[in-house]
């Protein structure tokens, strides 16, 4: 149910590109283009259509990976707020709520 709610929200703003860091040829090189140093996995970066980084998943406490606690939700929210052009505040709130609900399962 939550999937149905959240998918259109993310699709409003992003083309999602999941890359297999270990198996996809060139994935590590692409990551290096955006990382000053290895950040572990998973790691995320939001880029403009001309390939410029807007924000990434490395927050004040390091790479948040997949957000699973308060400080990581906060950084993920920061990522969305920095990148947003189409997402409304309510959309971002719904996305964060979905993450929090998923981590409680």
């Amino acid at each position: 149910m939550a999937t149905k709610d959240v998918a259109p929200l993310l699709a409003k703003e992003f083309v999602i590109l999941k890359l297999d860091f270990d198996r996809a040829p060139g994935a590590a090189d692409l990551a290096k283009r955006y990382q000053p140093k290895d950040q572990g996995l998973p790691w995320m970066v939001i880029v403009t259509p001309d390939g410029k980084a807007i924000v990434d998943s490395t927050g004040p406490e390091g790479n948040t990976g997949f957000p699973a606690k308060a400080s990581e939700y906060a950084h993920f929210k920061t990522m969305l707020e920095k990148a947003k052009r189409h997402l409304a505040d309510a959309d971002i709130a719904a996305l964060i709520s979905s993450l929090e609900a998923a981590s409680k399962k």
Partner: protein
Amino acid sequence: MTLSLLTLMLAMTGQAAPPAQPPPPQSVAPAIIQKAPPAPRKVYNETADAKAQIEAAVASAAEDDIRILINWGANDDEACTRYQQVQRAPEVSSKFRDDYKLVSVDVGHLDKNVDLAKSYGVTLAAGALPHFTILDARGKVLAQMSAKALASDADAAAFDAKKMGAFLTTHQAPAPPPVGPVFDAALARAAREGKQVFVWFAAPW
């Protein structure tokens, strides 16, 4: 590589993923295994719903377009216990980091999950455990092998981890396409649709 919005949706909403972490260390074990370890842990869950376990593994493998190895066996079977050292050998354990999901199904004394095994084309037989079935990311059977085929050429009573590594290599999923063109296509699509690209570097493990 998976270019799928659904993938992120599933991860975001269906499963709480672990925090970012480096790849797990690989254990080192000899290629030829002759003796069982002294205190084996139970690798076959004796109370699990094996059908559900397999279905969950297929769903998970589909996200990363990798394959599934079903290990049909029993905790009190000597060969199954001995096989666990094969599983820990580098040429085998590395396959379960990047290329395969592992499901160990308890068959008891050939009296549990027999029909489930049959549904995957496996006829369980005494002295032929463990038995291995490889599935693709849609759950289709790709290959079968009995542990008898792992016998060392030098010693028929020993397992050869290299043979298991070769079996897994033969049937693993092809590598994802090169990232460069896929990334460029995502950027172009984002430009057309007035969006940005959310790049997610991940791994099956």
